[in-house]
């Protein structure tokens, strides 16, 4: 089935609809491979993963096998993971440190900068054989912002900083959590799948509306082990902490839910779930953030949560821990998900374990909440198969300054997605000036 119209976007009538065929059609997925996953900046890894010369990570990005390595010249590069000779995978382990990558098939050897440095019986090739022409091929673009490395398969793409637009401010809030200025990806990768269209996970990851109904058992747990952090309560020094801006369009399809939630944050908002013993240390971290960055920025880091979406398929949810999550379609109704945990480099020992346990209270395929999301997304995908309903309604909050529990974040994604799929550049990613406006309701929870 081919959707004639992907979305209906009429803020002036409080209407925003998405055609369900966008999540079931193989033709649309084929087009997504050629546009969405070939023209945008896609997350490949974090600088901490290439801590030393020769360190590498094998990744699948935009459905393509690549690897990402720190060369002996200390420069990070991303290579197409294929031998320039006859095609075999060059990097066949997920991670490690190497000085040479040797193709097992015919034993061509490449150094960490991609140069072809050896091959058996080179004399068997003609006089025009040039090692330089048979070097490993780099992915056209690799750029980083605050340690987050992205690749782009489009040589003509705008630079990463321009692409990230206003999302940079939120990446700064994440990266600045380390008082030594260095964040790290913690060991351990959660790799799982969902029998659902990949765009459902974009929506779900920045959806404040579903939190209370879907994850009631998680909130029961929080309540049961000592109570929630009071979302609107004064901070320990008696001042009101920032409340967050709700749902925000960050440009180019990026979006964030910026708010305050009732769980604890290792950096740095104590809640009973983090344990009495941690209380003093977390308050101290909070004070250090304020000393280092000033009151406004320090409190934003410490006291506010952010579900950050970097278009098209990166989620950095800085909530009860920081999860870096990326996902790729396999079929219209199936995706693979890979999730990491990001932490300040200085966190070790009991402090790191505390963060890891706080992550797992909610997040990941064995957490007390994420399995509910997997079920919800798979349930939507099954529901689409029933037919009878053509459009999803994504209009919540279109008539007001968006709350975290509204759906502006999803509209932002869909506007950019629609623009790229139809080849007509987006003119705006928020709801625009024509929508009727009502002030946000005070005290609303995201």
């Amino acid at each position: 089935m081919h959707a004639e119209t992907y979305i209906v976007d009429q803020p002036e009538n409080s209407i925003f609809r998405v055609n369900r065929a966008t999540m079931t059609s193989p033709e649309i997925l084929a087009k997504e491979w050629d546009t969405i996953f070939s023209l945008n900046w896609l997350y490949v890894g974090h600088e901490s993963e290439l801590a030393q010369v020769g360190e590498y990570r094998r990744r699948t990005v935009g459905g393509r096998p690549v690897f990402f390595v720190r060369g002996k010249d200390n420069v990070a590069r991303a290579f197409h993971n294929t031998c320039p000779h006859r095609g075999a995978l060059i990097c066949r382990q997920d991670q490690g440190v190497a000085s040479i990558f040797q193709c097992f098939y015919h034993a061509w050897s490449f150094d960490t900068e991609g140069n072809l440095v050896g091959l058996p019986d080179e004399a068997g090739y003609g006089p025009n054989f040039d090692r330089a022409e048979r070097a490993l091929v780099e992915v056209p673009r690799l750029e980083q912002y605050r340690g987050f490395y992205f690749v782009n398969f489009d040589r003509e793409a705008v630079d990463l900083r321009t692409y990230l637009a206003d999302a940079k401010e939120y990446l700064d809030l994440v990266a600045d959590q380390s008082l030594t200025g260095r964040m790290k990806i913690v060991k351990g990768v959660q790799s799982y799948s969902m029998r659902a269209n990949w765009k459902l996970l974009v929506e779900n990851s920045i959806d404040g509306y579903h939190a209370l109904p879907t994850h009631q058992t998680y909130f029961n747990y929080l309540q049961g082990i000592g109570g929630m952090a009071a979302a609107a309560a004064p901070t320990p020094d008696g001042q009101l902490a920032p409340r967050g801006r709700g749902g925000v369009a960050l440009g180019n399809g990026h979006a964030v839910v910026d708010g305050r939630a009732p769980w604890g944050r290792p950096v740095a908002r104590w809640a009973p779930s983090l344990g009495e013993a941690a209380k003093g240390e977390i308050e101290e971290i909070r004070e250090q953030l304020i000393q280092k960055y000033g009151r406004e920025w320090g409190l934003r880091i410490a006291e506010t949560d952010r579900n950050l979406f970097i278009y098209p398929n990166l989620i950095i949810n800085d909530i009860m821990a920081i999860t870096v999550r990326t996902f790729t379609p396999v079929r219209p109704d199936y995706m693979e998900v890979t999730a990491y945990e990001l932490a300040p480099e200085e966190e070790t020992g009991e402090r790191l374990h505390r963060r890891l346990r706080n992550f797992l209270e909610f997040l990941g395929p064995g957490g007390l909440a994420t399995p509910d999301d997997v079920e919800a997304l798979e349930s939507c995908q099954l529901g689409f198969g029933s037919g009878g309903v053509t459009w999803n309604d994504i209009s919540r909050g279109i008539h007001r300054q968006a709350l975290g529990s509204d759906e502006l974040q999803m509209r932002t994604f869909w506007r950019q997605w629609n623009a790229q799929m139809t080849g007509t550049p987006a003119t705006r990613w928020d709801d625009g000036p024509t929508a009727p406006r009502e002030p946000a309701t005070a005290g609303s929870r995201q």
Binding site: D94, V186, K187, G188, V189, Q190, S191, Y192, S193, M194, R195, T214, Q216, T217, Y218, N220, Y221, G224, I225, Y334, E336, Y340, E341, T348, L352, H353, L356, R357, F359, L360, E361, G364, P365, G366, L368, T370, P371, D372, V374, E375, A376, E378, L382
Partner: protein, 171 residues
């Protein structure tokens, strides 16, 4: 011709092996029957339940991101959640069948028995049949003629949790 020697050491080793196997089969049965309160009661107050991520079955949950790292309190809430009808991936509960085999007692003292076993857990729900394959490591505390569990670790052999999607039931 040799005679089968009956040494007391050998007999007590076999008896222990048999008791451990019986205990693991009992545990599998009550989990397949979703008798979660009965299962939780097997754990000591300082017990842990760990499922490492699929990239490193030997990972230490103290410094690595795993799938599950429960203490007794978190395990209580995991069970409460599964009983609540609001653990949406397990309401209605899936049908599971656990096959426990290759049981080996790795070490044994009067205070503690460490045992390893292979498992296949089939999970049937919503038209899908998912399997979980791996290895258990149990630390058991002798209690009367049975045991209590002080540490339980389920290490998966799968490279990814695909297409399972989640560890929504007790593994």
């Amino acid at each position: 011709m040799t005679t089968l020697e009956r040494s007391d050491t050998e007999l007590s080793r076999l008896l222990l092996q048999r008791r451990v196997e019986e205990f693991l089969c009992f545990e599998a049965d009550i989990l397949d029957d979703w008798k979660l309160d009965e299962w939780l009661a097997l754990f000591t107050d300082d017990a842990t339940y760990v499922v490492p991520s699929t990239d490193d079955p030997s990972a230490d949950p103290g410094n690595s991101l795993v799938l599950i790292d429960d203490d007794r309190q978190r395990l209580h809430w995991r069970v409460e959640r599964l009983k609540s009808r609001r653990a949406h991936r397990e309401y209605p509960w899936s049908r599971t069948r656990r096959f426990i085999t290759n049981v080996r007692v790795l070490s044994a003292s009067d205070d503690e028995v460490v045992a390893r076993a292979s498992f296949v857990v089939y999970r049937f729900r919503a038209g899908h049949a998912d399997q979980f394959v791996g290895r258990y490591l149990h630390t058991l505390i002798p209690a009367g003629d049975s045991f209590r569990i002080s540490a339980r670790r389920a290490e998966l052999d799968q490279e990814r949790l695909s297409p399972n999607g989640a560890v929504s039931m007790i593994l």
